[in-house]
Amino acid sequence: MLDQLISSLTDGLLLGFVYGVAAMGLTLIWGVMSVINLAHGPVIALGMFGTYLLFTHLGVNPYLAMVPVAGAGLIAGLVIYVIAVHRVINAPHLSSLLATFAVNMIIIGVGTAVFSTSPQNIDYSLGSVEVGFLTFPASRLVGAFGAILVTACLYLFLYFTRPGKAIRAVANNRMAAELMGIPSSRVLALSFGLGTMMAAVAGGLIATFFPFTILSGGPYELKSFVICVLGGLGNPLGALVGGLILGGLEGLIPTFMPVSWVPVVEFGLFVLVLLVRPTGLFGAK
């Protein structure tokens, strides 16, 4: 029984790292410009398909494929920001919600037409890893490592580079940033691009675990909401920890009750945190 628990927990935690990356993208955009990006899920799905296409058609190693996928994600984010978000950035929240929801519908519509909704998968196995009594797919371990790498890069970027500090300055006080000569609109576009990039990379990593369709981003978007609330909206490190908590729960719950209860517990937790600690478990601002 204990072996079973530890094994499920490990499985969940490894997955949680990747959830954390997806959520980080969402939380970064929210933290900088108070926009909830409803196109987050479809971008995750695009990351899956990008990795898949590069692998199946060009034979690129899926992990290497995530580099161009990240680049494409950044550019896609910049484009989405310029076309759909910038004009409504100062409008009430509902406008940006609807704008990003429209982008969501467009991507899903085009994606369905191009890829249909039959499941695809990346047929690439790294085998499995045995640690003591634990056995899990090596792809999970690589995924977790990739997630830690992405998190570390984001942290270093935000705290030790000029554009990164400019992002924090704009997030903190946009008017003051503008007064200090920081081109805030460009910084917002960059932040949106980075958030979208994280989503695409998370999608690529998830695609190495499970089969997917163009609609597969949706559940991860919802998980990202839960994670962001757990970790405190706008807090990238909180997103990683929130991801681990959620992943851990997903691993453990099925050993006690039917799998269909997982979302019930997750969203029950979501509501509970919103009621009791609306600033998140790690109480940022």
């Binding site: 000029r162 924090r168 903190n172 003051a176 503008e178 007064l179 200090m180 000569g181 920081i182 081109p183």
Partner: protein
């Protein structure tokens, strides 16, 4: 020739016009004060000068060039720097990072080290706690960071909105001393200040704003003897 000229500016917020044709000139190397009662539009004027608010009418020119259509960050890059009312620090960032962000423009980056020394010399207290988050500082220290951040931007014109608001008399005095030291370096400044007595005492020239227009102007020493100014703003 004036370094900054405000020509016939009309401005305000959605549905409320506050300024009705303001004219103002800053002479290089001089400290100019803007006097006026609460709500008369001093902050609105500064925000319009910086491009945070688009004027309904009129123009702003800086070093002989029309900047009316430039964004706020472009004006800051050109050397127009505002230390805004309420300090508006990057509260989640350290003192050092705030100063670094002040020097964001390429112009300011070139003189980063000299300006940093200058700021630390002006406000030695900041040097002792460079790694502290700006949001955790006292009001006076925050104002020092705000002024320091403005100086890091290598200003040609430094505009200060409500320098001493909410500070103890002693801290206000410290900041005014810093102001006079900056004046000696030849920096052009525009000061908005609720402590009119102190402001007029350190300034070269002053404008009195009333009913959305310049009501009076003249050398600060003369204005401080003007009966109307004494009655209305100095309470004598």
């Amino acid at each position: 020739m004036a370094i900054l000229e405000v020509n016939d500016i009309a401005s305000g917020y959605e549905g409320v016009q506050i300024l009705w044709g303001v004219n103002l000139k800053l002479e290089p190397g001089k400290l100019t004060t803007l006097v006026g009662s609460n709500g008369v539009g001093k902050t609105t004027l500064l925000k319009t000068v910086m491009g945070l608010i688009q004027p309904i009418n009129g123009s702003v020119s800086f070093q002989g060039e029309d900047v009316t259509n430039l964004s706020a960050h472009a004006r800051a890059n050109a050397g127009m720097v505002l230390v805004p009312e309420g300090r508006q620090l990057f509260t989640e960032m350290t003192i050092y990072e705030n100063l670094e962000m002040g020097a964001f423009s390429p112009r300011a980056r070139a003189t980063f080290n000299q300006n940093l020394d200058k700021v630390y010399e002006l406000f030695p207290r900041l040097k002792e706690r460079t790694r502290q988050k700006a949001g955790t500082l006292s009001g006076g220290e925050q104002q020092m960071v705000a002024v320091g951040r403005g100086l890091m931007a290598e200003p040609e014109v430094l505009m200060l909105d409500e320098l001493s608001l909410g500070l103890s008399p002693l801290l206000a005095l410290t900041l005014f001393e810093a102001l006079t030291r900056l004046k000696k370096t030849g920096l052009t400044m525009l000061l908005v200040e609720q402590n009119v007595t102190m402001a007029l005492a350190v300034s070269d020239y002053a404008y009195v704003l009333a009913e959305g227009k310049v009501h009076l102007e003249g050398p600060a020493r003369e204005l401080s003897k003007n009966d109307e100014v004494r009655r209305t703003y100095l309470g004598i």
